[in-house]
Homo-oligomer: 215 residues x 2
């Protein structure tokens, strides 16, 4: 199963997602964190993303794949997502980190259902970090307790984040059918329907995260 | 010696230097790296800076100091340096990383001469990473081999980097005399002269680094 081109695709898209998340979170921490403690908290999160990137890069190399080549097909979509979702302030940056990490973890989970053990182990290692972004929940909830009127605007922002992610995701799924097939149960004609259901599951998970944020 | 306010000042300035270097290098990697391999190489360097930040933060906490309070007096000078030295392209970003890390390591070395063992150990751990920025030297030299005319402009850029660093450094030295005293041999009236000599040593080291870059 390791030799499946879909596996290299999957590791490639996750690797570039982690690398770009690291870079953009660090940028947001520098630009928007209101205190040094906040800057370091988002910095910690960014560095955790980088560790995931390193795991994925090593795994690609171990499979005999060139990490750069594996990531290359996804650079445009992921850079596009970041370009469309530049935060305007600290709260937006926190919601973006929380939403972005949440979506990525959902993808890891979908992938873990169908992957060979060595890659499932990697997924477990990444998922062990899933509590890290909880600090964002606390800070957003505290900010909204102080200013409840901000919730509406932040909810719109979160919808934009996920909307842009789904639009880039569907573009990638159409361009990389092997990757899409790896993520869904069936390999038959109803691939598109199954992919649609997977995106519906991701949207549902997103709704749960929004409720946690209180928006 | 650990209780000296100068030690907390020193760890504070180094901690914020590492934190801000991490954030800005990540930003430069996202904005300017021409290839994914370059992006990851500057990302590796940024994450090494973050590890130093964590070491310094832990050491401050172990000394009973609040890391945020210890860093606060240096935020303006270091953010000012970064604001005055935003790279315009990948080569400038590489030279900035190499020059910035070089200056920081010089400060660690000056500090190590006079510090109590637990802090000297920390300095040794940071200095163990000093080979990491060598990739910047290779890439700059390769770029200049391909385009020798670029050397003059890059030399001006390096001079600006160190000039702004010295100007911020002297401002900090004047505002934080305990820190300045920690870094120079004498504690007598000729502090200013001794500080001047230390800056001269730093400038000399900088010149050596410029020669390594071929500019």
């Amino acid at each position: 199963m390791n030799e499946s081109p879909g596996v290299v695709d999957l590791l490639g898209v996750l690797a570039y997602a982690e690398l770009s998340a690291f870079l953009r979170m660090a940028e947001d921490a520098a630009d928007f964190a209101p205190t040094l403690a906040d800057r370091a908290a988002l910095g910690d999160l960014a560095v955790a993303e980088y560790r995931h990137f390193q795991l994925l890069r090593d795994k690609l190399a171990a499979l005999g794949a060139d990490p750069d080549e594996a990531m290359a097909p996804y650079v445009e979509a992921l850079d596009g997502w970041h370009a469309q979702t530049r935060p305007g302030d600290w709260l937006q940056a926190l919601v973006k980190a929380y939403v972005g990490i949440g979506i990525a973890l959902d993808f890891y989970r979908e992938a873990a259902k169908r992957l060979a053990p060595p890659i499932a182990d990697l997924v477990d290692e990444v998922l062990a970090d899933q509590g890290r972004s909880e600090f964002a929940v606390e800070r957003v909830r505290a900010a909204l307790a102080a200013d409840p009127a901000a919730a509406g605007k932040l909810a719109l922002w979160a919808r934009r984040l996920v909307g842009e992610a789904l639009s880039q995701g569907q573009r990638v799924a159409a361009a990389r059918p092997e990757l899409a097939r790896l993520l869904v149960e069936s390999m038959a004609e109803d691939d598109q329907a199954e992919i649609g259901r997977m995106f519906a599951r991701l949207t549902e998970e997103h709704g749960r995260r929004m409720a946690a944020l209180g928006i």
